[in-house]
Each structure stands twice: as structure tokens, then as C-alpha cells.
Amino acid sequence: MKIAIASGKGGTGKTTFTTLFAYANRPALYVDTDVEEPNGHFFLKPEITEEKDFSELVPEIKDDKCTFCGICADECPYKALVIIKPTKKWLFFPELCHSCGICSYVCPEKGALVEVPRKKGIIRKGKAGDVRFLGGLLNLGEPTAVPLISAVKREIKDDEKVIIDAPPGTSCPVVEVLRDVDYVLLVSEPTPFGIHDLSLTVELVRDLGKPFSIVENKYKEGNTSLEEYAKKENIEIIYRIPFEEEIAKGYSKGELPFARFEQGMKELYQKIERRLK
């Protein structure tokens, strides 16, 4: 079973919850797909056993074969290539390139434009006790996280308990993560910003047709704002983590109260499992 943990807004406790949840349900695979800003390893502290480069193909032009006709640059949808005919120069802007391959397809001179791999990030694997760790880290300045997320996901074996930490927001990277999971947990907090961003994510998860529930973090008795939203939208709040300065302090040091939430999160997993049968 694959469960993804998402949240529209950052900083609502998504990674806190995900790592606690993976630990409580070990043996499990924890997957960090927040490749722009991965944080799960701070809490799980995995021993990294494998690290490999993630590369994509980008163009390289051979000066001796290129006629500087400029077709590649004209056809590049991202304006990542510039050909300057008068001075016979070519320029490549790697931060604009999406590795689509059009330039090499349209080049009329054989061997004038070749595609070479360019490192765009890394994929890491490791283990923290019975929790196996898998994650990606995107290089700074890269235009899109989706290809690296796909590459990370290809490393997942299907027969495992898979707990996926999704990126924040509601755009393409989140969709890439959620599109083939079995269940989605949305971590939110009872603040106006938190509820607003949650509502955007709810819209997305509904579009994708995934079953989902809410995890309320920083829960404080007396503040019923998130509960009211959930009731209105007919969504279940399936789990709560209280607002406590102690938890925040521990978090700041990379320490989480794993034992305290173990039993509750085990039951949560079983509940979802029963629901999907």
C-alpha cells in the first residue's frame, strides 16, 4: 500500500507526521519526494548506503560540424539555445533547458548536435533501523522537479509499505507524487493560512479521485476552525497532534517523540488498510 502525505502549505508538520508514521509502521519504506527541500533525513537520520547521480540529456554542439543554421535555436520551446550566425557562436542556457530533445530531432546536420547527460540532482537510499529511506535532492537553479521525482518513484518496489512525503503546494510536482498512490493524508493546522491552503489541496486530491483524510497538527482545544471546515466539506479528521512547545523544541533539534505516537499511528495505518480492502 502506498500512502502519500501532502499539505498545501509548508511548515504544517508534514515531514514530522510522515517520519513518525513511517517509524510506527516499520518495517516500511519512507520516500522523500520534496526534492527541492528534503528534510526527512534530519529526523530519521538514516545511514546512506547508496547515492547516485540523476542526469538528463542536454545539447552540445560540435563546432566543426555545425553550419550555424539556427534551426535548433528557433525550434527550442524554452529558448535555451542561441545560435549566432554572423560570429558562428552557440550559447546554451542550462537553467532554461527542459531536456525535451527537440533540438537534436530537428538538427539537419548529422553529428552536429549531440545530447550529453547533465547532472541535475541525486537519488539517495539508506536505512534507519527498520525504516528504509529513499529520497532525491535537486540541484539549485534547475527549472523543474518533476523528472527527478519520477526517477525517485521508479525506485519504489510495489509490495512494500510505502510512506511518501510529498512536496508542498498544489502544482505539477504534487500531482506527479499523488497520481498513483492508494491513499492521501493531508496535514494541516488550524490557522486561516493553513485552512486556505488545505482547501486548494482538497480540490486537487478530489480532481485526482484519491481517497483522503485530514491530519490536524498543532491542535489546540477550543480552536475548532479546522474542524468546522472539515465538517462543511465532509472530510474526516483522522488523527491529531497537539500544539506543544516541547514538540516544536524537539523538532528544532531534529528530535521527534517517536515512542509517544507509535501506538496511535500504528492503529491509524490499520484503519486505512481496512478501509481500502
Partner: protein
Amino acid sequence: MRAKEIVFISGKGGTGKTTITSSFVNWLYKNGYEFVIADADVDAADMHILLAPRILKKESFIGKSIAEIRNDACTSCDLCRQYCRFEAIDIINSEYIVNPFRCDGCGLCQLVCPVDAIDMIPQTVGEWYVSDTNSGKMVHAKLYPGAENSGNLVTMVKHQAHLITDENDIPLIVVDGPPGIGCPVTSSLSGASYAIIAAEPTLSAIHDMERAIATAKHFNVPVGIIINKATLNEKNTQSIKDYANKRDIPVIGEIPFSRCVVDSLVDLKFTTDGCPELRDIFDKMFKKILEGLK
């Protein structure tokens, strides 16, 4: 003169970026400054919740085009699927279908299709607004869930903000930036005068802050740091300061961990109004930001 842009970013979400930005906006207004607000966190825009904008103008935002296969013309030759680098073409019930979430809009499939069965259809992926708020004009946007090209929407929001400042001779744009370090962040940093990093003394936020600072430096944008929730972990707060010192990055101020910040948010109040005990801290901090601009 082109208006200066102060951009608030954080790397990690939830460090108080929008809270600080809205407090800054409120403070600027109360101290008589003229400025335009740009909410560049188009994925999850939140500024409007506190600023209660009255929308004056609303426009659709056309993002990238997405491939569409006309099945009556398609001969199932499979070339498009083989060439697509984004694995965006699926065969469903022996029909070729483009997955709009994966399609990058490059158009290679259209080029390779031998029977001209593929169209590139421009997508409306969001909308942007020019609004009035009690503190000044604001440009904001909403990206539809699951859409991409948020970097280009950020560029549009900033462009519209500059049109307003140009026309009215307003010297400043305050930008609430997006989280992360990806395309929308680089768009919000491009052409900015000053990037303020909202940091917090947690290991993950420090890690993300370092990546955000590196991104700003890459674009030659000077940076300053505000440490939010500074009393949460004194040791980490110190290491942020050491990090900043070593790199000649000013620490503009420290906001203590305080329940009233969340409480004022819950009551839909600016922190500058809801937390009188923090007033002096904000005052000093925001003055320092403006000094850093000169």
C-alpha cells in the same frame, strides 16, 4: 525610476514568511510609505486572507500549451509515445491519450507525428488580479490546482506590479515569495533589490535557508536574514548568526517564539497589531530592511 523590489523567501514553508511580509506591509503603511504588494506565492497565495483585497481587475493566465491527439486522425504508429521524454503519452483502451499533468508542452510529438494528428492547445492555468487593499494596491494570482508554469505567473504578477509603480511613481514593491528553490523562486528573485530570508532555528529550516540563500546569490540579489521563533532553540539561532557572519549576511532581526503570533493570525490580525510586545522588535527590524536598500 523603476521601483525596488523586496522579496521575502524562506526555502522551507511555514517559517513565517507571509506573516512577516504582511507585518512589514502593515508597518510600511502606518509609517506613511507608498508601495505595491505582489503575492508571488501563486501556488498557495495567502496574503489576501489578511489584506482583504477588493478586486479591481481580473485576467486569465494562459500557460504552456498541452498536446492533444485527434483520435480519428491517429494511426497508432506509436512515434509520439516513443519520442516523448516526459512519458506523457499513454495508451488507454488502444487509444493514444496525453496525460496533461505530465505533458511539458514542448511540441516534439507534434513534430514527429507523420499524419498531423496532434494539436498544441494553450491552457488557461490560473488567473491574476489587481486589487485595492487598505494598505495600497496589490497584485495577486491563483494558479489552478495541478497546473505548472507558476514561474511564469510569478513573472506576470511582478510585471503587473511594475506597471502600477511606473505609472504612479511608486518606489517600492513588496513581494511575498514562494517556498522552495525552484522555478517560481528564481522568477521572484529575478530583478529583485533585496531578498529577506525568513529563517527559523530548526535543522530543516536552516538547511533550506542555506539553499535559498545560494539561489539568491546565484541571481546576484543581496540577502538579509530574519530569524523567526528565535527562542525556540538558542543553539541553532546562534549557528544561523555564525553562518550569516561568516558570509557577511546581515541578520536583520530576531522574533521570539511567541504564542501571540499564531493567535493574531487566527484572529486575522497583523502581527504588528496583535502583538504589542513585539512592536519594538518589528520597528527596528523593518527600519533596518529599508536602510539595507540604500
